[in-house]
């Protein structure tokens, strides 16, 4: 299985680019139009998130730019709109477009951070579980299985609730973003651990691992240098699919009022605010962020599906 291009001795940038285009991954990417489309959409989201301060027409965090006078303005194509607010404004007069752009930044950031944390915990525990086997394996996997019997969102809610009750209401605003990340990653590490364990079981019986064991290399060395590079393929696939899940989970938590406070725009908080006005005519406040969330979740998910198929030599 090959992820990137084949490295050669002659590594001019042009040649590397050509090799990337020629590699199996690139070829399978270019073969499907849907994959190209969702790839582009995901790229747009990532760029938007990275450059939010430069792309948003207004700063939703700047109280001076917000005026209650501008509240409940409809999107540009509806009668009575203000051209400065293309997607309209919310109850406090924030520009919905800017809020969505900043919200994308928050949502993607939380999604990425929690996936990285979940992957780190999951890969480590999965490797240990698969490599050592026996009692350690049984202990870790039983915890994982018990956790799997609860829905992920319930775990996230539980973790979130426990942390909040420990910290008390005072600290809530500042650290809420980290609480959400921790809650999501504790809900998702199991997915990583199980797959990593299964792959480790296959890889550790291969002879290159036996060769290292005969040479009395340490277990940590074997896990880090031999096993880790060989399990990253499946990990990458789960990470992509879990990124979509994490984004949606964050939105759910925020929607339920357990994630971020309404002052910090994330897609979930925007939908929550808009939800109150959904039936009073101001539909855009909830519908537009909702659509953005749906598109983002779908794109990342489809990208993950493609990656899973592309890295599976049997389906190639």
């Amino acid at each position: 299985m090959k992820i990137a291009s084949r490295p050669t001795n002659r590594r001019s940038p042009k040649r590397i680019f050509e090799n990337v285009l020629k590699s199996d991954i690139a070829r399978s990417f270019l073969r499907s139009k849907v994959t190209i489309l969702v790839g582009c959409i995901t790229l747009i989201f990532v760029v938007t998130a990275l450059f939010a301060p430069w792309m948003a027409p207004h700063n939703p965090y700047d109280p001076e730019s917000i005026s209650v006078m501008n509240s409940f303005l409809p999107p540009a194509w509806v009668e009575g709109a203000d051209i400065r607010f293309i997607l309209g404004t919310d109850p406090v007069g924030r520009d919905v477009l800017s809020a969505i752009i900043y919200g994308t930044r928050t949502s993607l950031g939380i999604g990425l951070a929690s996936v990285i944390l979940a992957a780190t915990v999951g890969v480590t525990l999965g490797l240990i579980s698969g490599y050592y086997g026996g009692g350690v394996d049984a202990f870790i996997m039983r915890i994982a299985e018990i956790q799997l019997t609860f829905p992920d969102i319930l775990i996230a809610l539980l973790v979130d609730g426990i942390i909040r009750s420990f910290l008390g209401p005072g600290h809530h605003g500042n650290i809420s973003i980290f609480v959400v990340i921790l809650a999501i990653s504790l809900a998702y590490w199991v997915h990583f651990a199980r797959v990593v364990r299964a792959t480790t079981l296959v890889e550790k019986s291969k002879d290159y691992v036996n060769a290292a064991r005969i040479a009395k290399k340490s277990s940590v060395y074997i896990m880090a240098r031999h096993l880790l590079p060989n399990i990253l393929g499946p990990v990458l696939v789960i990470a992509t699919i879990n990124l979509a899940l994490a984004i949606v989970t964050e939105a759910t938590l925020s929607f339920l009022g357990l994630g971020l406070p309404p002052t910090q725009p994330s897609l979930g908080t925007l939908i929550r605010v808009g939800n109150d006005y959904l039936f009073s005519g101001e539909w855009w406040i909830a519908i537009v962020p909702g659509a953005v969330l749906a598109v983002m979740g779908l794109s990342v998910n489809l990208l993950g599906d493609w990656l899973r198929d592309a890295l599976n030599p049997k389906l190639r």
């Binding site: 299985m1 090959k2 084949r6 490295p7 050669t8 001795n9 291969k206 002879d207 290159y208 036996n210 060769a211 290292a212 064991r213 005969i214 040479a215 009395k216 031999h226 590079p229 060989n230």
Partner: protein, 664 residues
Amino acid sequence: MEIPTKETTISPVDDVSFHINTGEILGVVGESGAGKSITGTAILGLLEPPGRVSNGEIIFDGKRIDNLPSEQMRLLRGAKIGSVFQDPLTSLNPLRTIGQQLTDTIKTHLPFTQNQAISHALDLLKEVGIPGAEDRISFYPHQLSGGMRQRVVIALAICAEPKLIIADEPTTALDVSVQAQITMLLRRLCDDRDAAIMLITHDMGVIAETADRVAVMYAGQLVEIGNVGDVLHGPRSPYTRGLMNAIPTIVSDTVELSQIPGAMPRPEEIPKGCPFHPRCISAIAKCKTHRPELVGDEHAKVACWLYEGENVNRIVHAEETARQRAVGRAETPELVESHAPFIKVAGLEKHFSVPTSFLSRLLRKSNRTVVRAVNGLDFVIASGKTMGLVGESGCGKSTAARVISGLYEPTKGNISFHHSSKSDGKNQNQSSQTHTDMQMIFQDPMASLNPRWRVTDIVAEFIPDRISKIERVGELLELVGLSPSDGAKYPHEFSGGQRQRISIARALGANPKFLICDEPTSALDVSVQAQILKLMVEIQRKIGLTYLFISHDLAVVRHVSNDVGVMYMGNLVEYGPTNEVFSSPQHPYTQLLLNAVPDITKIGISRHPIVGEIPNPLDPPKGCSFHPRCILATSQCKKEVPKAIVHLGVTIACHVVNQSRVEV
């Protein structure tokens, strides 16, 4: 029946024409990638799209069949053309009994009722030599052993009296003793039923034994075809000649294996002209540009330009020069060779406990079922020597290797290493000494290298830190016949033989004194096997390594080892100097094993196959574990486990033989 053939899109098979007469076995032989299997698949009409026969035709029984619609072809397959494939387990449906599978096939092709079909199925099972067919007909495939399964597959293939049977490597997955039974069965079927058999195999021995005519394929082309006797005793094409000389035989160990440089080209890289010319030691200018046609008489045809005009002597001449050069290289002064024991294995045992169900644990008194994979192994390897360990699959030879290498803890017994007096002087820590002194080379060249590492990193892995690694990696790669620039590549860019070279280079990086080789060449083609064996012998001469060489291939073991041990069900039944054991085998198992190996120098069946198969290791026979298959077995053999007795340097564990040996 005439089958002139065809050409596929990237031409894995290119302009191959041959015919098979009724009542004849045509052996198709060649190394992997020669296009022999795809030829068989094409005749069966089972080419995977987009593969197709792009040129030529297949004529079966006077009718052209390569352009038949798939429905008609389906009826033809099974009824007129039967097939037998390599893996008997995947050829059978694991969810249905063999009886159901047989009767289904019979009823598809013959107008039989259920009862008639069952009785026909029973007849077939008896014909292919399955004892107790009445009981076994209701067995599922997993309840049968590999040899029995292959018999069932053959019964399926012949159930509708086919005129042609395509057997693709039917014996490759089986042990030597069972292999002999199956080849005899094929020969008998061919004679009794007057069917034509296309026997595809890489094993020249099987061909020598069963086939009437043989076709040698190379890179999708026929290089030689003719009567078995003519081709095997007087091979004409340089490829066939090289191949024949590259096969080690059990008859003698004196002949140096000849080398065919390089490896089979990939189907997309087949060179112009004669496809063999880049590897041919006697190629002439014309070989590079023009493709030779098959020429010759009825008995043997060859595709080679050297048989045109005055060039014939060139082949013999080139071979002679190559041989002399090889001998010259072999005469490099040998390093200090001591006869002191280097490794001593004493009473080694390794048992595995098989988890049993809770219920059977309640019912039985013993709560564990134990498999005695290695059950008392004693041997000594002298420094700089090679000890060969042979036996059929499941005899415990690989387990023994893993215990000695330290991958498994021994259940009983000990392994001691004696270092040469030089390294003992510094009084180094024993445990840290042994691990760098010992390395292992594995069977599967793909799984033994980490696919994510570059070759440089792989080879550098076990090099001690103090030495400058990069230089050493270059040296090692050159030593094993690769170029230092190969270091930047990944393992998947190499062929099987090259990967095995990388494995050897990695092992040598640790400066080992002792190398355990677990079937190092059994995944390789014959010509590549010869290269690797030669490399290993050369390295042993240069560095003075001690080898433990494990293989199921008796000829290979005879070729490389000084001492040999024959294992059966975890026990060493015979152990002694290689020449002694091979020239006058004494234990009945060794005798039968040697007899079961097909001999490429003899045409036709000349051996008596061993009856039966290796017993279930969970329930080994009492007494001598070989007694159910032994022709000499006495009542004593059924009760007492024979003791190993050393006599004239040969250790044998057998009641009957030891009695007569001691008396004499």
